[in-house]
């Protein structure tokens, strides 16, 4: 075991997979000589050369299209979105060609590609750099969406995403890159479609993902002191949703709080609520509580910025209100 930072866990995943498979390459803005804005690809170009660490011009839609064409013909591109928000400019290539081309071609082509990079609300980055694209992309058929949250799961999930033969959108969080964790020395892979039970409990299920996992953990420290026993599930897979893990938990707790950083309107939580309504409505003893970002562009001012996203106190209040004196 060795202590590894989040960005180095991702870097190790890339390095190991590039070592293993010569068709794997990385492309994007400043992924080569500069080493990536968050140093996830630092110095990899020295080992693999400038075609495998392809520094692209700033043209997101076209280099994403290039990645699709190279994937159709047998390579395994990994795109780094310098900031995932920039990939709004590549929406067409991601949706039409990464997402749908395999189907519209009747299975003629595979599109094994990973699109990864930092998403989420950082600190005072302003509205455009604070976006959460996962909800925008969840309606696109044919893509998988994964959100990592710890150095351990980041590494194992990224390796699996690279080996997957489908397009995978892989969300990291801009505020988590410096987290540290002891990682196993031996190789490991994690399944892309399984949620992670972060804490077992019996009173309420809290579903979350990405950075909000830490807000939930913080809130749960207080809640447990107050005698509550919540179960925390990190979704990991935002598409498809791991409804099996979610339903198993609901059958135990019968109460659900969703804590997400994406927008309340049309968010991942909205989709979860709809799915539960479709499949497990009878398991619920109370309406689902949803804590999400406010439907407003993320403001620059720190106080205002904090108001738009869920805070640990909001989670404590929501759980207390939901459970009342039922413990």
């Amino acid at each position: 075991m060795a202590e590894v930072t989040f960005f180095n866990a991702l870097r190790a995943a890339l390095d190991e997979e590039m070592e293993r498979d010569p068709t794997v390459y990385i492309m994007g803005e400043d992924v080569g000589i500069y080493g990536g804005s968050y140093k996830v690809t630092k110095d990899l170009y020295k080992k693999y050369g400038d075609l495998r660490l392809l520094d692209t011009p700033i043209c997101e839609n076209s280099f994403t299209g290039m990645a699709v064409g190279s994937a159709m013909t047998g390579l395994r591109p990994i795109i780094e979105g310098m900031n995932m928000g920039f990939l709004l400019l590549a929406f067409n290539q991601i949706a039409n060609n990464a997402g749908m081309l395999r189907y519209t071609s009747g299975g003629n082509f595979k599109i094994p590609m990973v699109i990864r990079g930092p998403g989420g609300v950082g600190k005072n980055l302003g509205a455009e750099h604070s976006q959460r694209l996962e909800a925008y992309f969840q309606a696109v058929p044919g893509i998988k969406i994964v959100s990592c949250s710890t150095p351990y799961n980041a590494k194992g999930l990224l390796k699996s995403a690279i080996r997957n033969d489908n397009p995978v959108l892989f969300f990291e969080h801009v505020l988590l890159y410096n987290l540290k964790e002891n990682l196993p020395d031996e190789e490991y892979l994690l399944p892309l479609d399984k949620a992670e039970i972060v804490r077992s409990g019996k009173d309420v299920t809290i579903l979350t993902y990405s950075r909000m996992r830490y807000h939930v953990l913080k809130a749960v420290e207080t809640l447990t002191q107050k005698g509550y026993d919540p179960e925390i599930i990190d979704l990991i897979s935002l598409k498809p949703l791991d409804l099996e893990t979610i339903s198993t938990s609901l059958r135990k707790t019968h109460r659900l709080v969703i804590v997400e950083e994406d927008m309340r309107c049309g968010g991942i939580g909205a989709e979860i609520i709809a799915s539960i309504n479709d499949h497990f409505f009878d398991e619920l003893d109370a309406p689902i509580v949803r804590l999400a970002s406010l439907d407003v562009p993320t403001p620059y001012n720190g106080t205002l910025e904090n108001l738009t996203i869920v805070q640990p106190e909001d989670i404590i209040k929501a759980v207390e209100k939901l459970l009342g004196n039922k413990i």
Binding site: P22, T23, Y25, G49, L51, R52, T56, P57, C59, N61, S62, F63, T64, G65, M66, A67, V68, G69, S70, A71, M72, T73, G74, L75, P77, N92, Q93, N96, N97, L101, R102, Y103, T104, S105, G106, G107, N108, F109, K110, I111, P112, P141, G142, N164, D165, N166
Partner: protein
């Protein structure tokens, strides 16, 4: 510069091959119009009549099943020239399970992995970077994986309308920057549905735009298959030798509306008549006869053979099964073969 045909360097056999390829394109498309009006095919169907010299001139100068071809929504004929069987294309247009895209794609999404035919792209210009990706792959295999057989060339077709889109400029930049083995083939048919090229672009000479990226650009008579072929051969040679991309602007015209749903009311009659007088199939036929490379009889027997082939493709499509509703989701993910 307009490339004049300097010397005719084809054999009679090649001449007949080019003729047959163009006749196949024309006959197939005429049959599509007939089937569309008879309610056998649906949606948006964009026909290629009039532009045959471009597909044939470029694609038949390439190596079949080795090189890559990337098209647009006007893709049937590019696919046929690349070797996708007429049966499979026709069945796709009928929405059948035996279609090259298994009835999932339709007219604007013709694909064939087996024939290195990359599509079939329904939005204007979105195929351009995808084609560059295939070309990048060839370079990558050659230089990173030391694969000496990775000397494929990719031909990327698009219209004049696409050349006002960012993906055109962005991809030309990258193709030149990395010296990719690709040929950008502009089929300038003067009209993007109802938007006339001269009303849409600040400098109407598309071939000149190549120079900005340090890339050779040629204006070619897109109604003369031999002129197209001559320029394409040099572009293929350059690409295969690792000398980088070429842009060809083929001056051509579509003999039908934008799609079968387009009333085609804006193009002036005089303009159409002028271009109808330059039918690329008739031009080649006249040249082959003039040079004693073919007889009327030989050309007629090719016409007949192709007529039968296209009729057979309709029979194949008509008698093919519909995709099974049980397989609605099939092919969405890589695990579905």
């Amino acid at each position: 510069m307009l490339q004049e045909l300097t010397n005719l360097s084809i054999t009679a056999q090649e001449g007949l091959m080019l003729y047959e390829d163009m006749v196949l394109g024309r006959t197939f498309e005429d049959k599509c119009a007939e089937m569309y009006y008879r309610g056998k095919m649906f949606g948006f169907v964009h026909l290629y009549n009039g532009q045959e010299a471009v597909a044939t001139g470029v694609i038949r100068a390439m190596r079949r099943d080795h090189d890559y071809v990337c098209s647009t929504y006007r893709d049937h004929v590019h696919a046929l020239s690349a070797g996708v069987p007429a049966n499979e294309v026709m069945a796709e247009l009928f929405g059948k399970a035996t279609g090259c895209s298994k009835g999932r794609g339709g007219s604007m999404h013709i694909f064939s992995g087996k024939h290195n035919f990359l599509g079939g792209f329904a939005f204007v210009a979105e195929g351009i970077p995808v084609a560059a990706g295939a070309a990048f792959q060839s370079k990558y295999r050659r230089e990173v994986m030391n694969d000496p057989n990775a000397d494929h060339v990719t031909a990327c077709f698009f219209g004049d309308g696409a050349t006002n889109n960012g993906q055109f400029f962005e991809t030309l930049n990258m193709a030149s920057l990395w010296s990719l083995p690709i040929i950008f083939v502009v089929e300038n048919n003067k009209w993007a549905i109802g938007m006339q090229h001269v009303r849409a672009t600040s400098d109407i000479s598309i071939y000149k735009k190549a120079a900005v990226f340090g890339m050779p650009g040629f204006e070619v008579d897109g109604m003369d298959v031999l002129a197209v072929r001559q320029v394409a051969e040099e572009a293929v040679r350059r690409a295969r030798a690792g000398e980088g991309p070429t842009l060809m602007e083929c001056m051509t015209y579509r003999f039908r509306g934008h799609s079968l749903a387009d009333p085609d009311e804006l193009r002036p009659k005089a303009e159409k008549d002028e271009w109808f007088g330059r039918d690329p199939i008739k031009i080649l036929a006249a040249k082959l006869l003039e040079l004693d490379m073919a007889t009327e009889q030989e050309l007629k027997s090719i016409d007949k053979k192709i007529q039968t082939l296209v009729e057979d493709s309709v029979k194949f499509a008509e008698t093919s099964p519909e995709p099974s509703p049980d397989e609605l989701y099939r092919f969405q993910f890589a695990e579905d073969e």
